[in-house]
């Protein structure tokens, strides 16, 4: 931030006062814009953080997620630009140019459209692999991978390809009608949607499947019959949509037809195809902005397993990914009851040994008895039958079977490189089959604190056991503490950067640092964003990292569980390397390409000459720049505004012999106050309450300003510059709202302006402070500035001293943290007035420094 030079009780204000301009309405309007900007800034940073987390490859997401996140982010960025221009009377129009530049690049990122490859109508499972999603859909591509690359038992199966689908709709001449209906329907009109859906489904069901396609399907069916040796072979016909795998939220939208005989095969095929035109599926598709061309559906034809029991297995507990446990869910009979949750399943939790002598423990749980089960009829179709008495009492799976499933699913996880969610069945002969495997949809987000942290790595000393994960990962290196970013030139390559506050200026060092630990800071802040961008593991809020970690110490930073260990912990470092080899899906690639235009931060130093709107290169730059300028504009505006006494109330207190004009922008005062005077306890502005507490905690010493006449004899004219005296006519102002205050104050020749915002989001919060003036000689005034700067730095402010002027700021901390700092500031403002007078030499500075710390500690509790 570039600070205004002087005076802050400006000429502008005095001119306005003379003209009687009342700017309360303008102030209120600008404040609203300012608040909106703070909100959008927070929302933008949160969205960027979330996108970065998804881009790490650990979490499942879909195209819709990418599109809607970007839309949301772009909206917030535009809002910030608009608000800033409103605040500054259009000073930053270049930001729109920067925005358009980024937006254009992002929009033009080639979006690998799913083209339908020309293949055979039928693809046998033996020839199917993971990379054939566009030909045979996600479900079948994964099943082929399970069978052919992993070698786990799966039922006999074949896929009817997407090319077959395309041929079908073209042959039946319904393709263009489907496309037209789909693009025209208004998904917000449910009746119309239902109507269109019914028409489209009927079109599909009544359409004729080309003869050659029918023949190919029957041929494949006959071959399956031969292979299985079952004369009356039944199959299940399942959807295998192209985007089902990459769009997890689509899972379960489409139908599966169970136990289909050859006679019903074509009918079932059409049923599954038509399921992508159900109202729900249509809504989803349209809502997420997909093109109709992408609605190409392959269909899986899978041998029915005569299931004794079946169910689902998760390779991890979605509620606790870090725990080494496999979850199994099982029912008697066919598995669709387990998936649909129709009957109470039996659940198993398989965990590595807790007691001696066994490798795993298996805990079973059954809520209720399973009374009915689904059974496949020999003649086709399914039937619900009672579970036989002897089964009702027993468990669906033996220990041995549960362990087998555990082995299966862990093998799947290892192969696919991510936690898996698989369907399984065991037939009456006791043979297991994997029916489907897909990435586990984890609801675990990085922003949440870990619900239950795993046991520590034994044999290594834990140095820090607190903090939020700002960027996931593990790294080891030597500690290097920095007090401020100026000292960063000789930062060692591969060092662990340890800082007290997460200032964005440190971003440059992340090119060299292998990990980052900060005592304080927001995981949505700029530095956290850059850490994720650069994939530098980071822990914020480590409380006392700067106290515990000494330069040169070798440490391992565990940015997965939030700990710091002494020395190198090989096991953790290995853990950190896992999951980096995850193959990029087209959607992951798209997200990452997009993030290159969004997350890098080039505008790191607000004091630099190129810190200008037109130099913003990414959305992150725009947020940083806009936020910085908004603070400056708001501050300048506050200093130059004149609000007439008519719009203000007078605040008087017995504790301080001063008078303030208080202007309430919004909800800063208790409602229902009558008259034009005010008591301190009628202020409900959060930052103002904290500041006031600091101002009054220690008793006021000295006189009311300029009230010395007739009290002491004054011999000579003032020893100070007569110009300074002209400011004595200025008034003390407090402009406030529930979360904001701007306080300009004069005590003798001393001027200070304090501005603060304390909201619910860390990224919105800040305190800015300027102090200048004094009647003493330059030496004394400069010493006083140095003195105040030392005090404020002690309490985590960043301070800049220019001659006798002090500019201090602290931001992006939680409310309670900043409330304590406001109290300190309140004390400093009131008790350092005229202190320039006593700053005889540096020894006096030392003495007053200690004396003032004692005073502050008497009422502020700040754990150091």
């Amino acid at each position: 931030m570039r600070y205004p030079v002087f005076p802050f009780f400006s000429k502008k204000r005095r001119q306005k006062a003379l003209k009687g301009v009342d700017e309360k309405a303008v102030f209120t309007r600008k404040y609203k814009a300012f608040q909106e900007l703070l909100n959008s800034n927070n929302a933008a940073l949160a969205t960027i953080g979330d996108m970065q987390e998804k881009a790490s490859g650990t979490f499942v997401f879909d195209t819709a997620y990418v599109l809607s996140s970007y839309r949301c982010l772009a909206g917030n960025i535009r809002q910030m630009i608009d608000s800033l221009n409103l605040l500054s009377d259009n000073k930053y129009k270049d930001l729109s140019v920067a925005y358009e530049r980024v937006n254009k690049v992002v929009q033009e990122i080639p979006h690998r459209r799913v083209a339908i490859p020309e293949t055979d109508y039928v693809l046998h499972l033996e020839s199917i692999h993971q990379d054939m999603v566009s030909a045979c859909g996600g479900k079948m591509a994964f099943l082929g991978e399970v069978a052919n690359s992993i070698g786990l038992p799966v039922p006999h199966a074949f896929a009817v390809s997407t090319f077959a689908y395309q041929s079908f709709v073209r042959y039946a001449q319904i393709e263009s009608i489907l496309i037209e209906k789909c693009s025209k329907v208004d998904i917000r009109d449910y009746a119309a949607l239902e109507d269109a859906s019914r028409q489209m489904q009927r079109l599909v069901q009544q359409a004729a499947v080309p003869v050659d396609l029918q023949e190919a399907i029957f041929l494949a069916f006959e071959e399956m019959k031969r292979k299985t040796g079952e004369a009356s072979l039944c199959v299940s016909v399942r959807s295998s949509a192209v985007h089902e795998d990459i769009m997890a939220s689509f899972a379960g939208q489409y139908s599966t037809v169970l136990n289909v005989t050859m006679d019903n095969l074509i009918e079932a095929y059409k049923n599954v195809i038509s399921s992508q035109f159900t109202p729900r599926a249509l809504f989803y598709h349209k809502d997420k902005g997909f093109s109709v061309e992408e609605m190409a559906m392959a269909v899986g034809v899978v041998q029915m397993i005569d299931a004794a029991s079946s169910g689902i297995v998760y390779s991890r507990d979605p509620g606790n990914l870090e725990e080494d446990a496999v979850l199994i869910n099982s029912v008697w009979g066919l598995g669709n009851y387990a998936v649909g949750g129709i009957v109470p399943p039996e659940t198993f939790r398989v965990k590595p040994k807790a007691t001696e002598g066994e490798e795993y423990t298996i805990s079973r749980q059954k809520q209720d008895r399973q009374k009915v089960m689904m059974y496949a009829l020999a003649s086709g179709g399914t039937e619900e039958v009672a579970v036989p008495d002897h089964l009702e009492e027993t468990s669906c799976l033996s220990d041995e079977q549960a362990l087998r499933l555990k082995d299966f699913v862990r093998e799947l996880e290892a192969h696919f490189g991510a936690p898996q969610d698989a369907e399984w069945a065991v037939d009456r002969k006791g043979s297991f089959y994997v029916l489907q495997s897909r990435p586990l949809r984890a609801c675990h987000l990085w922003r949440e604190t870990l619900p239950e942290r795993p046991r520590r790595i034994e044999g290594h000393k834990v140095l820090l056991d607190e903090g939020k994960i700002a960027s996931r990962g593990v790294a080891a290196g030597p500690v290097r503490q920095l007090r401020d970013e100026k000292a960063m030139a000789d930062f060692p390559e591969g060092g662990v950067l340890v800082i007290r506050q997460a200032h964005p200026e440190y971003a440059v060092i992340l090119e060299k640092a292998c990990a980052l630990i900060s005592d304080t800071g927001s995981v949505l802040g700029h530095l956290a964003t850059v850490a994720r961008e650069r994939r530098v593991p980071a822990i914020f809020g480590a409380k006392d990292a700067t106290g515990v970690l000494r330069d040169g110490m070798a440490v391992t930073v565990d940015g997965i569980y939030g700990r710091v260990y002494e020395g190198e912990v090989a096991r953790l470092i290995k853990l950190g390397e896992q999951g980096q080899g995850v193959e990029d899906s087209p959607i992951l690639e798209r997200l990452r390409t997009m993030l290159k235009e969004i997350t890098p931060l080039y505008m790191t130093d607000p004091r630099a000459h190129d810190f200008k709107a037109k130099n913003c290169r990414t959305f992150h730059d725009i947020t940083r720049f806009s936020h910085e300028m908004a603070l400056k504009e708001m501050f300048d505006f506050g200093a130059n505004t004149y609000i007439s006494e008519k719009s203000a109330r007078k605040l008087r207190s017995s504790k301080i012999p001063l008078e303030w004009l208080v202007i309430d922008l919004e909800d800063g005062l208790r409602p229902g106050i009558k008259g034009n005077t005010l008591q301190p306890d009628e202020i409900v502005s959060i930052p103002m309450q904290a500041l006031w507490e600091g101002m009054t905690a220690v008793a006021w010493k000295g006189p009311p300003p300029m009230d010395t006449k007739g009290f002491l004899s004054v011999l000579a004219g003032s020893a100070t510059d007569p110009d300074a005296a002209s400011y004595l006519v200025d008034k003390n102002y407090i402009v406030l709202s529930k979360h904001f205050c701007n306080v300009s104050m004069r005590l003798g020749f001393h001027f200070s302006t304090t501005e603060a915002y304390l909201g619910d989001q860390e990224t919105q919060n800040y305190i800015t402070f300027i102090f200048k003036g004094g009647g003493a000689d330059a030496g004394r005034k400069n010493r006083r500035a140095a003195f105040i700067s030392r005090i404020l730095e002690e309490f985590d402010f960043r301070v800049e001293v220019r001659d006798d002027a002090i500019f201090a700021r602290i931001e992006a901390h939680e409310r309670a943290f900043l409330e304590q700092r406001l109290k300190v500031l309140g004390h400093v403002i009131v008790h350092t007035r005229q202190m320039d007078m006593v700053m005889y030499n540096d020894k006096m500075v030392d003495w007053y420094y200690k004396d003032m710390l004692k005073g502050i500690e008497s009422f502020v509790e700040i754990g150091k």
């Binding site: 010493k701 010395t708 006593v838």
Partner: protein, 158 residues
Amino acid sequence: MQTEKRVKDLVIPLSDYPHMPYWGTLKEAIVQLNVAFRSGHDTVLVFDEAYKLVGMLRQRDILKGLEPKFARHYEEGVPIFWDDLLKSGSEKRLARPIKEFMSEATATIDAEDSILKASHIMLIEDTYLLPVVEGGKLIGVVNMGDLFHEITNAVLKL
């Protein structure tokens, strides 16, 4: 006796002396004079809010301020344990504002005045330090020691 010197030639700039506002405490004044000891300046200049001089706190004022009230009545026969003198209630006295102990500034001298006039005023006012004013603005002080040196040099040349 002849001397060309004017008061302005002997003036000591204000900034060389310790300053305090009149509401500063006796304790702070002691700290000031303690750290100023080596400079040879033994007086705190006392100002008001508008940086106008209202008084001076000399060593004797401070010593007087340190004594308990009853000690002032010593001559009237109050017995005193000298070694314990400072123990009694000293914390309280140290927290008192210096305006209670300072000597009020009762006279000034113009920078253009002769040093003999300055010396004369000092004798009349019974002080060894005089505020110097130039064009209505306080610019510094002159002390008796410097005047003495100038005047006696002139006397020896007679």
